[in-house]
């Protein structure tokens, strides 16, 4: 699987949403109402699963899934 599929999979699993609910270009806050605590959980899950080290505010709920995929790709 590529990074895109990996990140989308982690988003769905962590936030407990279906893939069709995830709008690729909308911010996580606007599309799914993701709050800052959920972002901590998402960041920890991405770090653990993809063995990278995203720091505190590198990804926020004002990022879209596509933007997060880009940020993760740069870390790999």
């Amino acid at each position: 699987m590529g990074i895109k599929e990996d990140v989308l999979g982690i988003i769905c699993k962590t936030l407990d949403v279906k893939e069709e609910e995830v709008a690729p270009d909308k911010t996580l806050y606007d599309s799914l109402g993701v709050d800052s605590t959920e972002m901590v959980e998402l960041r920890v899950a991405i770090n653990k699963s993809l063995e990278i080290n995203l720091e505190g505010n590198e990804i926020t709920n004002r990022h879209s899934p596509n933007q997060i995929i880009e940020i993760v790709a740069q870390k790999k």
């Binding site: 936030l15 407990d16 949403v17 605590t37 959920e38 901590v40 959980e41 920890v44 653990k48």
Partner: protein
């Protein structure tokens, strides 16, 4: 209080059921809902019995996304709140959410969540801790979750005052409506003490029954063979509003919060005072605020701690205030069927009292076998009694003698 406040919706999550109809039918039957604790290994705890809620998931309306962020005590509060809102026919589209307050009583907080995450922290390090720990465990977490869930933004508070927590929360909620800070209030309490650590603390605190073998008969207030109270878990929530507003909305009015009295023994951090002055003061203050004569009281919902000291002091205070008139008043402790829900107890006592008023039936104190000669009261032993109840007092006593008395009337 300057005016009485109407109760127009009730929601219950209890060992005796999660619908008001089931709750009432079970209490009326005089059954014990105390059971052995089996959800974790409690075999070495001195007291390992409790009134437990078994059907929460069946009645839950919450998403798994939300459930993983909250402790079970918030889950209970959200389910009870949902029932109360539905029961009051509150139209959430029309109500001014800036003027809906949420008031909750709780004693212990959400320990199931906290214990699990602390274990993970020591096992896996800081990355092993759920970020929701920060907002899940503390006593005000449930109030926060309910306000977020419904978007209520009115003046809100959580009260922590041991077994008197929800009594104070109900009073506080009524006060904000009288002061016109809120139009509606969602008020009550929730408690989830059946976790390894919370149960340990409750055992250390003392006052719990160790009658583990005969658990159905363990909680027996005012009985000569009592040996303490039994823990319970659950939540009770009610909708409060002005009487005029309730009439305008054509709401079903269960009853009214008419007055309150409170005091503190102020002698020890855990024990009650050996004299009953402070408790009597709270009862008298409540009668005064309600503008009731003593003989007008039909029913008293007892604190019924089932400890020697707690019961004797409660009976003594009531005899001292009401004298011979006490024989004309019905008294009982329906919590003997459910277990004592600590910070949530008065909210369930209130709901049980309102349903007693509605059905003209005094609920019993179960497991009563032999009268304690030091407790000269008739606590409606074992079987309910038919009686019209118009005016009732609900007693709540917290650790160290936090005394709260609510006055509730039907018409």
């Amino acid at each position: 209080m300057k005016e009485r406040i109407a109760i127009t919706g009730i929601g219950v999550v209890s060992p005796a059921g999660l619908k008001k109809e089931t709750f009432w039918a079970n209490l009326k039957a005089g059954r014990s809902f105390v059971d052995e604790i089996k959800r974790f290994d409690a075999s070495l705890y001195p007291s390992r019995i409790a009134g437990q809620v078994h059907e929460l998931d069946t009645y839950s309306h919450l998403s798994s996304r939300l459930l993983k962020k909250i402790d079970v005590f918030s889950h209970m509060a959200l389910v009870a709140s949902n029932e109360a809102i539905k029961d009051a026919h509150l139209d959430l589209e029309k109500v001014d959410k800036e003027r809906v307050g949420v008031f909750m009583g709780n004693a212990l907080g959400g320990w199931l969540f906290a214990e699990t995450e602390l274990r993970d922290m020591y096992m896996e390090g800081r990355e092993g801790v759920s970020p929701y720990m920060a907002s899940a465990w503390f006593p005000a977490a449930s109030q926060g979750q309910v306000t977020i869930y419904y978007g209520f933004k009115g003046y809100s508070k959580t009260i922590v005052a041991d077994k008197a927590s929800s009594a104070l929360a109900l009073w506080y909620a009524a006060k904000t409506i009288i002061q016109d800070k809120n139009e509606f209030a969602l008020a009550g309490g929730m408690e989830a003490p059946i976790t390894p650590y919370a149960l340990l603390c409750a055992n250390t605190r003392g006052g719990l029954s160790k009658n583990n073998l005969n658990f159905k008969k363990a909680y027996r207030p005012f009985d000569l063979y009592r040996d303490g109270f039994v823990l319970g878990e659950g939540s009770g929530m009610v909708i409060l509003e002005r009487e005029d507003d309730a009439i305008k909305r054509k709401s079903h009015i269960y009853g009214f919060i008419k007055g309150v009295g409170f005091s503190c023994d102020g002698v020890h951090r855990i024990r009650y005072s050996l004299n009953t002055e402070a408790l009597e003061f709270a009862i008298n203050e409540c009668l005064k605020e309600c503008e009731w004569e003593k003989e007008e009281v039909d029913y008293i919902c007892l604190d019924g701690e089932a400890t020697i000291l707690g019961d004797i002091l409660e009976a003594k205070a009531l005899n001292s205030i009401f004298g011979d008139k006490l024989k004309e008043i019905s008294l009982s402790a329906p919590k003997s069927m459910l277990g004592n829900l600590l910070g949530a107890q008065t909210s369930l006592d209130l709901i049980a009292t309102l349903l007693s008023m509605q059905n003209s039936l005094v609920l019993p104190t179960i497991n009563f076998q032999e009268k304690d000669p030091h407790c000269d009261i008739d606590c409606t032993p074992n079987y309910p009694r038919e009686r019209k109840i118009k005016k009732a007092l609900i007693l709540a006593r917290g650790r160290g003698g936090i005394n709260v008395v609510l006055g509730v009337e039907k018409e």
